[in-house]
Each structure stands twice: as structure tokens, then as C-alpha cells.
């Protein structure tokens, strides 16, 4: 064996580190039964909420808007469940000391982890495609709108995951990471339904109260499910996702 001092690693080493982390993290979800439990729970709730709570079938409309209606609730619960392990597990096992003394920058590691988790959530979402096909079989839906709905839901998942990443970076306990991540996402859901309007009304001008409502998850997902093209909700989701990613990176860097 020769010393690596004389044989420096290839220039693309940064990319290989990112790729290795992405692959490891994604495969990591399937190393434990948790992934399958997660996928099953997500599907069961996604379908039953739409049909039994949303009365999707009785409505007799060939569209998925009643299906997507519940997705902010689902992601608020399940994105923190999937994201809790991102950093908390590294801290608990002590492997964070290993990872961060390997030749990888914190943001490469954070991005690799984040995208792996997002990809996993995308798998959960893709497994609901039979719902769309059923609608297609029963009626004549607008496939463009359905595609937009799926895209919106995926972006919404990313936003919740951004929140979850911050929660996970703050603690070594996955349980605490999950609970705080869930609470933060839950608030983002409730804000959109105006639950806090009365609270804010006493403190803020009424225009501001309306603006705060716009920060709700459903407010931003709804345009997608109706097939309305609007850049603002997409920007909102991406902003939340990447702010969370950035903040979690800073937290880990300052550990």
C-alpha cells in the first residue's frame, strides 16, 4: 500500500462523498422494518382519509382534490417521522464524529441526507398512484391537474422535511426530534385554516393576519390540486425546505 499523500484522491471526491451518503441514507430506510410500516401507514391513511372522511367516491367527481386535501396533515405527521433519524441518530450512535472527520463538508452530508429522505417520501407518494388510476378508470380526469397535484404534494413533503431536519439537528433523541418536528409542521397546517387568527388579530394589523394565513400548507397546496399555475406556492415550499436544510447544516456545523 502506498501513502495517499503521494496519491491524492480524485478531483470528483466531493461528488462521490455526496453520492455515497445519499445511497447509504436511502438504503438505510429499508434496513429496518420501519420503512415498510411507514409506507403502509402512509398509504392506508392517504386512501382512507380521501374516501371515508373526504367522501371522494360519493362526490362523484373524477378528480383527486379530495385526496390531496389531507396531504398536509399526512406530511406534517410522517415527514418528521422519516426525518427524525437524519441527525439525531448520528448523534446517538456517535457516528457524527466519524462522518464529520471524513473528507466531506457538512452541507454535502446534509444535502445527501435530505435528498435521500425526500426520495423516500416520494416512494410513499408514488405508491398511491393506484388511486389516480382508479379515478381514471371510473371517469375522465384531467391528468395534467393530477400530475400537478402530485408535484405539489411532493413539494409540500419537502417543506415538512425541512422543518424535520432542523428538529433532528437539535437533539440526539429521535423521539424528541419527531415530536418537535411534528408540532412545528402541525402549526404550519393550522395557520392555513385560520386557527390562530383571533390570537394574531389582537396583536397585528388585519392585513398581516391574512398574510400569515398564506403560510399554511394547504393554502399553498390547493392551487396545485386545482391545476392553477402559480409560482408563489412552489417558491414557498422550496423556500421552507431549503431554509430548513440550511438551518440544520448551520446547527450541525456549530455543534
Amino acid at each position: 500500500m502506498s501513502s495517499p499523500s503521494e496519491n491524492p484522491a480524485p478531483k470528483s471526491a466531493g461528488l462521490s462523498a455526496f453520492g455515497a451518503i445519499l445511497r447509504r441514507e436511502f438504503a438505510g430506510y429499508f434496513r429496518t422494518p420501519l420503512a415498510y410500516v411507514f409506507l403502509a401507514v402512509f398509504n392506508a391513511f392517504a386512501v382512507s382519509l380521501a374516501f371515508f372522511v373526504g367522501n371522494m367516491y360519493e362526490a362523484g367527481v373524477a378528480s383527486l382534490d379530495r385526496f390531496f386535501l389531507y396531504h398536509p396533515w399526512l406530511w406534517a405527521f410522517l415527514a418528521p417521522a422519516a426525518g427524525a433519524r437524519l441527525w439525531a441518530e448520528e448523534r446517538r450512535q456517535g457516528t457524527i464524529e466519524l462522518l464529520l472527520t471524513w473528507p466531506v463538508t457538512v452541507w454535502q452530508a446534509a444535502l445527501g441526507k435530505f435528498l435521500a429522505a425526500w426520495l423516500f417520501l416520494a416512494c410513499a407518494l408514488l405508491m398511491t398512484l393506484p388511486v389516480a388510476f382508479t379515478v381514471g378508470w371510473l371517469g375522465d380526469p384531467d391528468w395534467g391537474v393530477i400530475l400537478a397535484g402530485y408535484a405539489g404534494s411532493l413539494l409540500c413533503a419537502g417543506a415538512c422535511l425541512g422543518v424535520a431536519a432542523v428538529a433532528s439537528a437539535l437533539t440526539r433523541s429521535q423521539v424528541i426530534a419527531f415530536v418537535t418536528g411534528f408540532l412545528a409542521c402541525f402549526i404550519l397546517v393550522l395557520v392555513g385554516y385560520g386557527v390562530f387568527d383571533e390570537l394574531f388579530a389582537g396583536m397585528l394589523p388585519s392585513g398581516m393576519v391574512d398574510e400569515i394565513r398564506r403560510l399554511g400548507l394547504w393554502r399553498n397546496l390547493e392551487p396545485f390540486t386545482l391545476g392553477l399555475f402559480d409560482l408563489r406556492p412552489a417558491v414557498y415550499f422550496v423556500t421552507v425546505a431549503f431554509s430548513g436544510l440550511g438551518l440544520s447544516t448551520i446547527i450541525i456545523e456549530r455543534r
Binding site: R23, L98, W102, V104
Partner: protein, 234 residues
């Protein structure tokens, strides 16, 4: 050229000065026995050298790269096994080493994994998940990930902690085989290891270096190394 340089390193946790103005350098071929009582600042010094912690003042240079200015370059030449040899417990030994090799972007990672399994005598547990391994094997896995890229600088925090005598012998044997080409720092509580493994001894207590000398001079300090240790760290 010194492969490891610590220049006036200092680090506090709150009001406690864990490492206070520590300086030393390590050349190729040297194996430093890093001694000191628990809480003396051994692990903290190692964390500063490996870039896991940021020094408040002073700097750490590994293979010519400043750890805080060019961390990725420095870490490429560094093998580090933290205290307790943490590893991803849910992965098998082979998967874990493959991950380490891929992350480091090594050419021919499969061959490096094979050679490292061989070197660290991990073949028989290669397909087992790390969490199912005994402590001896787990320590060896920690060691294996630290040497998979044949680094110029090797920093091991208590690599023989909790091992039985045979396992300790094994780790020392592997270390000795590769030591001539590397700069190595090994922290330990076991004073006997000094004589068997190290070329130089650094004793640290209360965050300060109490003694930094060749193995021969250290061993001349007295018959009873425990006595010597107590006097130096008092």
C-alpha cells in the same frame, strides 16, 4: 516534514479549560503514546486535531493542511477512530467499509475493502451487522475504517480499550506493521503499551502537556510506571 502539528491549541467547555495552549509535532515513523487521566484533555486534543471540534485559539495542521482552513484536504490524509469506535450498527462490516471507501472516493473500493478486511482479520464477520459484534470486533471495525485509505496520519482514541490481551496484541501488531510509514497518535490508559508500541510519550493533565519525550527517556523515569504517571499528572 511534520505530518501532525498542534500549535498552541486551546479549547474550553464553558468555564472549564479542557485544552490549554498545547503544542507538539509528529513526524513520519513516530508513534505517540498519548497518556493522561480521564478528563485530562486527551480526547479533546484529538478532536481538535481531527477537525471535529474547532479550536478557540491555535491551529492544527495535518499532512500540511490546516484543519480549519482546508478541512476536506486534511481529512483525506487522516484516519481517525473516535473513543468507543462508533459505527453504523445496522450496516454489515462489509457494507460499512464499502461506504467509507466510496465516501472517500478511493480508486477500486472493492479491493480496498477486501484488503482491509484481511489486514484487520475481519473476514469471518464481514457479513454480520456491526451491532451484533463483540466489543473486540467492533473496535477492529473502527480501526479498519481508519486505515482503509492507508492514511499518512492515524489518530486512535483508546483503540485497545476493553479488549482482552489477545485482541490488544492483535491491534498492536497491525499498528506496528504500518507505523514506519505514518505519523500515529494513540491515546491509552495502559502504561505497558508505551513500551511495546510507542516511540514517544506525551503526558497530558488538566489540559496541559506535562511531559513530551522519547520512550527511552520516559521509561528511565522509574521502575514503576504507575508511580511515574501519578507524579506527572498530580
Amino acid at each position: 516534514m511534520a505530518l501532525i502539528e498542534a500549535k498552541n491549541l486551546s479549547k474550553s467547555y464553558g468555564a472549564i479549560r479542557a485544552v490549554n495552549n498545547v503544542s507538539f509535532s509528529v513526524d513520519r515513523g513516530e508513534v505517540i503514546g498519548f497518556l493522561g487521566p480521564n478528563g485530562a484533555g486527551k480526547s479533546t486534543t484529538m478532536k481538535l486535531l481531527t477537525g471535529h471540534l474547532r479550536a478557540e485559539s491555535g491551529c492544527a495542521i495535518v499532512a500540511g493542511f490546516d484543519v480549519s482552513d482546508q478541512p476536506v484536504e486534511a481529512k483525506r490524509h487522516l484516519g481517525y477512530s473516535p473513543e468507543g469506535a462508533p459505527a453504523y450498527g445496522e450496516m454489515t462490516v462489509r457494507e460499512f467499509l464499502r461506504f467509507a471507501a466510496d465516501l472517500r472516493g478511493l480508486a477500486d473500493p472493492a479491493e480496498r475493502v477486501r484488503a482491509t478486511l484481511e489486514l484487520c482479520r475481519l473476514n469471518e464477520v464481514a457479513a454480520q451487522t456491526i451491532e451484533t459484534l463483540s466489543k473486540g470486533y467492533r473496535m477492529r471495525v473502527g480501526f479498519a475504517q481508519a486505515v482503509i485509505h492507508d492514511p499518512a496520519v492515524l489518530i486512535l482514541d483508546e483503540p485497545t480499550d476493553g479488549l482482552d490481551p489477545n485482541q490488544k496484541f492483535e491491534v498492536r501488531r497491525i499498528l506496528k506493521d504500518m507505523a514506519a510509514r505514518k505519523a500515529v497518535i494513540v491515546s491509552t490508559h495502559i502504561l505497558e503499551e508505551v513500551g511495546e508500541l510507542c516511540t514517544r510519550v506525551i503526558v497530558i493533565a488538566q489540559g496541559e502537556i506535562r511531559c513530551d519525550e522519547s520512550r527511552e527517556r520516559f521509561l528511565q523515569r522509574g521502575e514503576d510506571l504507575n508511580q511515574v504517571f501519578r507524579q506527572l499528572t498530580a
